[in-house]
């Protein structure tokens, strides 16, 4: 679907790509949103790490009445089983993050690998792989995930594989376009002419150039994975005994938190998911924007045009 998929090759055309670390440092120092995004992600990762120690109550025992409102002892109230919601969100966040990161890793390995193979070698492999990628890009993710999760049965590893296998296509497309443009550059041809092997060219010369875009893509894929995880869980297609951000919402909806007026079973959990997605989005978008020089110019005047004296007033006075 060449017309549909944006060609990232065009985006970076003309811009000299810096090395990974240098580029990321620049993005983090120049763009406030990138720092905010990174901080949000770091916060949730940290929260997940300390959750087993810091969670105020156990997540498998009743510690308060059903749907008890937030109070001094239970900051975020209790769910339908009398379990403390703050503890559930802390512990569930960890599992959601593991699902999101692992699924992203799966999709990066498949997408990165296929993208490089197809962009670097071309030919029949390229056509075949990209046809599959196009199919996956067009197909409705959630419907496909529903079908697979249902045929295989609900469990966490299945959810990870389903998300990973569904999400690699966009990465592969992007990497392929980038590889195709990089491999035609003079220094790559020069490296080839002095006898560099394919793998050396790919790992030494092509991958570092693709790095920043791949990182932006990874961060954005984490957001998509967590989104899909919560959606699948909400539809009851995840291990029902697991505590994740998705199943917390599912339990709240399925067991009538709304008619009980228990907003605390819904809002904090949903906000946690949204905050993490915002974090990933801000960081990923900041990197992508930094790679797109076309966003820097605008010819529209922001103020109404006024004639001004060429010399400034202070100089006049002097």
């Amino acid at each position: 679907m060449t017309s549909i998929v944006q060609d990232p090759g065009a985006v970076t055309d003309g811009a000299v790509l810096k090395s990974d670390a240098g580029m990321l440092r620049e993005v983090l120092t120049e763009r406030k949103t990138a720092v905010v995004g990174l901080c949000i992600i770091a916060f949730f990762v940290l929260l997940a790490v300390v959750a087993p120690i810091l969670a105020p109550y156990p997540t498998d025992a009743r510690t308060c009445p059903v749907f008890a409102a937030p109070s001094a002892s239970h900051w975020l109230g209790c769910d339908d089983g009398g379990i403390d919601l703050l503890s559930e969100i802390m512990v569930g966040g960890g599992i959601s993050l593991i699902i999101g990161f692992t699924a992203t890793l799966v999709s990066m390995v498949i997408g990165g690998g296929f993208g490089i193979l197809s962009g670097y070698f071309g030919g029949w492999m390229d056509i075949g792989l990209m046809r599959i990628a196009d199919y996956l890009l067009v197909i409705p993710d959630l419907a496909f995930a529903m079908v697979i999760a249902d045929v295989w049965g609900p469990s966490l590893p299945h959810v990870i594989i389903v998300i990973g296998v569904l999400e690699w296509a966009a990465t592969a497309r992007m990497i392929r376009a980038q590889v195709k443009s990089v491999k035609e550059r003079v220094y790559v041809k020069r490296a080839r002419s002095i006898g560099a092997s394919n793998s050396r060219i790919v790992f030494r010369h092509v991958l570092p150039q693709v790095g920043p875009l791949l990182i932006a893509n990874t961060v954005l894929t984490v957001a998509v994975s967590i989104y899909l995880e919560t959606a699948l869980a909400f539809l009851g297609l995840e291990d029902p005994s697991a505590i994740t951000w998705g199943t917390i919402l599912q339990h709240a909806f399925g067991r009538a938190a709304i008619s009980a007026g228990a907003w605390w079973a819904i809002i904090p959990d949903g906000l946690a998911v949204s905050a993490l997605i915002v974090g990933c989005f801000l960081l990923g978008q900041a990197i992508e924007d930094a790679l797109n020089p076309r966003l820097r110019v605008a010819h529209l005047s922001f103020r109404h045009w006024k004639l001004r004296p060429v010399v400034t007033r202070r100089l006049d006075a002097a």
Partner: protein
């Protein structure tokens, strides 16, 4: 590449994608491990006649490869088997469900496009102003809200005021005039469509904003400004029109998301459309229904993508170059 070549290429692409979708569908349900339970003839409580008829129709006692060709043939005739639950043909059940989905999804999507494009243009126009920051932040927030969370929040807010489930009030249906019935459906549609609109609008607004910013850097905008046109004229006549092109693309790309969102929304609001039907099929192990629903969604998304391609071609013939 000439225009007609482009059209033929796109049609060929759509057809091959549909073919892949059909094949994947067959393999998912009949060949992969765990698919023995998906035997089309295992309709619970079915009469032996129905079972025999289905086995004969789909050649279920034949080798898998032959079954595949029989599946293609039956599909070409619109035969997708019989629902395990209602024992009605899957195709007629799906048709009914789709008729309920289309209005709800169309209203939500169109509203999202209008809202997204309008806020995107204003944001880019007033770049880096308070208005831009506020609008962009709100768009990012709505973009990040999971669909189901947004639906639940709207339920919490308006659950008592607006109808929260179903498509019709059972006491209105049938007895009253057509106008009253239409009003009833429209009121039931507000929350589902609003949820869809709000989940989609954020993305459209962000894309429209960056597309406008890119367009505003083009030379023809500089020329327009040099001619002394007002900002409003530059925006409306020169920038916005060109900036709208990516919106066509992004709507096409997000069709899969729209469908996914629609499934979640129909589940929350018990809207009797295709998403609700599929969720019920999952819940009741109604495999023929699930298989049919998935195929229908896949094919419609491919066809809608094709339409978007043609629209894009109409709007921007440069694409063939």
């Amino acid at each position: 590449m000439r225009g007609s070549d482009y059209v033929i290429k796109r049609i060929g692409f759509a057809l091959s994608t549909i073919f892949i979708a059909i094949t994947v569908n067959f393999f998912l349900f009949r060949v992969l491990p765990g698919s023995a339970i998906t035997d089309l003839s295992r309709v619970p409580n079915a009469t032996p006649q129905l079972r025999h008829a289905l086995t004969a129709e789909f050649g279920l006692d034949r080798p898998k490869l032959l079954q595949y060709f029989i599946y293609l043939k039956e599909l070409a005739h619109g035969n997708m088997g019989v629902s395990y639950i209602s024992q009605q043909p899957v195709s007629s059940e799906l048709l009914r469900a789709v008729q309920n989905t289309i209005p709800m999804v169309t209203v939500g999507t169109v509203a999202a496009i209008v809202l997204g494009v309008a806020t995107g243009i204003v944001s880019a126009w007033r770049r880096n102003s308070m208005l831009d920051h506020a609008s962009t932040n709100i768009a990012v927030l709505f973009y990040a809200f999971p669909t189901q969370f947004l639906g639940l929040m709207l339920l919490l807010l308006f659950g008592g005021v607006l109808p929260a489930s179903g498509m019709r009030n059972p006491f209105v249906f049938g007895a009253q005039s057509l106008w009253t019935q239409a009003q009833d459906v429209a009121v039931h549609m507000i929350l589902p469509s609003l949820t869809l609109c709000l989940t989609l609008y954020g993305e459209y607004a962000l894309i429209m904003r960056s597309s406008m910013l890119e367009t505003l850097g083009e030379d023809y905008v500089l020329t327009a400004r040099a001619k002394g046109l007002s900002n409003r004229k530059i925006i409306v006549r020169h920038a916005a029109r060109n900036a709208l092109l990516p919106i066509v693309t992004i709507v096409a790309i997000s069709l899969g998301w729209i469908v996914g969102g629609a499934i979640l929304i129909e589940f929350i609001f018990t809207w009797p459309g295709i998403g609700w039907t599929m969720w019920q099929a999952v819940n009741q192990r109604d495999y023929p229904m699930l298989q049919g629903g998935f195929l229908l969604l896949a094919v419609s998304v491919v066809l809608l993508n094709l339409i978007a391609d043609f629209a894009y071609f109409r709007l921007d013939p440069r694409i063939t170059e």
